[in-house]
Structure formats: structure tokens, C-alpha cells
Subunit: 217 residues, 2 copies
């Protein structure tokens, strides 16, 4: 049993996995937790696609690796330099782990894709159209619930969108209709790493009180 | 102590609150959990704005109520009819609770706004620009962590974006620069309701296996 708050604080991205298979019951439990996340008007605007077939995972892995090999150098070029040596070391470690994942994705026992319909509801009245917020607001909370539910079952995953460089190819491989955007890939397995508080900019430095820009210690 | 998986399954939207004030320590704990959520390249593209001042909450409440009074009828007009009587009853209850929240928002002790910079990184190479996914993917997981952390401290909240109808007014009230999108409002307090598994379309009906459209029991 993992304590809720402890789980929130120590669930981190896992990019290296053992060969141990994942029980279908565990996958289903993660999906059940995912749908309990909030969605606007309770519309649940998502679909999940669970891929365990080795040939399909190999095919996804091949597309993903090509995407990663374009993505990584292009992102590196526009990323701000690390603030200090510690940050630089951490960044290098993350890139190395992401590179390893891109090369080993086919071996991760389960690939969960999260799909979101592209059609958005137009809400209007006599005064005109209203901004009712992005549909993503109703999808990524479910993704986070999935990640946390995996943790509660001893499973690790990482939220990645790198495949989007070649999203059309991923859709085609898996018969996903064009009307869906693939908003997340969650490679799921038994993690090699340990859970722990991941390095982050502290909340205090990102929080204003009462009015924007008013910091409080 | 709440078990992680249990917490994921039973954290539901809370729209009615007691008058009990919220400890600043609890708000800070929720924010610390929020920033532990994953973000692409660990960029943490969000800011939080915590409003407790009664005059500011009243001002936000007034804007929110005007937004709600345009939003609700306009959404009702385009929403599909409920599938059955149970669903219709639930929907009516939710609208009633949302209406109550819109009228009582000023009294909710804490309003947390989540801000996201509008500027997005352009990633490109010789072959052209790359789709690296929406920035929302790096923000709403943090919002969900906040909601769950609140739960772990006995606090309730609800993710709402209704204020977006008049987002400019909210920004102006709180000195939020134009370069930020207000992506969530989280009214935070001690809930009147009980935690429990909220009604959802079941995960099985939203899940394909191996290829899109292949259902499995």
C-alpha cells in the first residue's frame, strides 16, 4: 500500500524496465483509475489503445526511434542552457535514459496510447462564441491518474509525445482514424529504477499570492 | 492516510464547502505535489496564483457568475440528451451544484488559478517544423496532482474553466500578464460532500486492444 500524498510526491518518470510481463488485470486497474479523473461536463473525451503484440510494438518502436532521432537534436538546439552543473548532469542523464527508451521501446511489454477526438464543441450564444477551454483539460488528468495507478501496482511508465513527429504513421499502424489525435504514449512495465522525489523547480518560486508577481517565502 | 489507488478511484469534484478556513501549510503541500507531476523536458510551464483575499474572491466570483450564466444555457443547447433517466438525474444534480458554486464562489476560502505561458517552443530541423505536443500536456497532470493532494489533506476542489468566457477580466483583476493563459481555476475548501467513486462510462467501453476498435470484454 502506498500513501496517496507520498505517491504523488515520489512517482517519477520510468524509462527502463525489466522483462517481467504486465498482468492484464493491472492494465485494466490503471484504466479504471484513469477514467475517474475529472473531465468537463463528464464527457470523457478519450479512448485508450493498449498494444501488447510484439510485432506491433516493434513497428511502433521503429517509428518512435526515427522520431526521437529528429526530435532530440532539434530540441537541444532551442533549449536554454542548464542553470548549473547539477542541472546539466541531470539533463544529460535524462537524455541518455530517453535515448535508451527510444532504442528499447519494442521491448517494453505494454504500450498504452491515449487518443482524443479532434472535433471540438462550439459553444455560442447571441453575443458570440465562447472559449470553454481546451479539450486537453479533460484528458491529461486521466493520463496522470493512469501513471499514478501504475505506481500503486508497482508499475512504471513515462508520458511521452515524441512519436508526434510521425503521428500519422503511428495512427496508420494501429488503424486509428484520422479524427483522433494521439495525445500520449505510455510505455508500461516493471521499472528498473527506484521511486523518489524527482528534481523540480520548487513550488514557491512558481507561486504568486493574491496578485500575480507577489511572492511569499 | 489514504491509499493511493483508493484515492485515485474516489476523488471526485467537490462544489460545496464548509466555512472552515484552509491552512496555508495545506495549500503549500498541494502545490509541492503539483510540481512533482511530469512535464515535457521537465520545463514546468506553469505558474500558480493563490487568492485568499475576500475582496478579490468577491470580484472573481462576480466575473465567474456572469460567465456561468452565459456558459450554462449555451452548453445545454449543444449537449447530447442524457442516455437514460439515471444519467439525466445525475446531470441535473451536477448542473445544480455548479450553479450553487457559481453563486457561492466568493465564499470558497481559496481560489487557485493555474497559468500557462502562451509562447510555445518551435522545434525544427532541415526537414521542417516538428509537432512536439501541446504544452497542456505539461500542465494538466500538475493540476490533477493538486486535486489529489488536496484530497489527501481532507480538502476538496473542482477543476473549472468556466471563467474563460471572460478570462481577460480575471487576468486584469489579478494583474496576470497577457502572456499567460489561465488554464484552470481550483476553488479549494473543506468539502461538504463525501468521497466516492463518481459515475463514469466504464474504461472497457473506451479501450481498444492491439488495434483501434478491437474491444475486449
Amino acid at each position: 500500500m502506498v500513501d496517496l500524498y507520498e505517491g504523488l510526491m515520489t512517482t517519477r518518470a520510468m524509462r527502463r524496465f525489466t522483462d517481467e510481463p504486465v498482468a492484464e488485470d493491472d492494465i485494466r486497474a490503471c484504466l479504471r483509475a484513469a477514467v475517474q479523473a475529472p473531465s468537463g461536463g463528464n464527457i470523457q473525451p478519450y479512448q485508450f489503445l493498449v498494444v501488447t503484440d510484439p510485432d506491433l510494438r516493434r513497428a511502433i518502436g521503429a517509428v518512435y526511434l526515427r522520431a526521437w532521432e529528429r526530435y532530440e537534436p532539434a530540441v537541444a538546439k532551442v533549449s536554454p542552457p542548464a542553470r548549473d552543473e547539477d542541472a546539466a548532469r541531470r539533463q544529460a542523464r535524462n537524455v541518455a535514459a530517453s535515448d535508451e527508451l527510444a532504442r528499447a521501446l519494442a521491448d517494453v511489454p505494454v504500450h498504452v496510447l491515449v487518443l482524443m477526438p479532434k472535433i471540438s464543441m462550439v459553444v455560442a450564444d447571441d453575443e458570440g462564441e465562447m472559449d470553454v477551454g481546451p479539450t486537453y483539460a479533460s484528458v491529461y488528468p486521466a493520463v496522470q491518474n493512469f501513471i499514478l495507478a501504475a505506481r500503486s501496482r508497482g508499475l512504471g511508465t513515462v508520458l511521452t509525445t515524441v512519436y508526434r513527429v510521425y503521428e500519422d504513421e503511428v495512427r496508420e499502424l494501429l488503424d486509428v482514424p484520422d479524427r483522433y489525435e494521439v495525445v500520449a504514449l505510455l510505455p508500461l512495465g516493471h521499472p528498473r529504477g527506484r521511486w523518489g522525489v524527482a528534481p523540480r523547480r520548487p513550488a514557491e518560486s512558481l507561486t504568486s499570492w493574491e496578485r500575480f508577481g507577489q511572492r511569499r517565502g
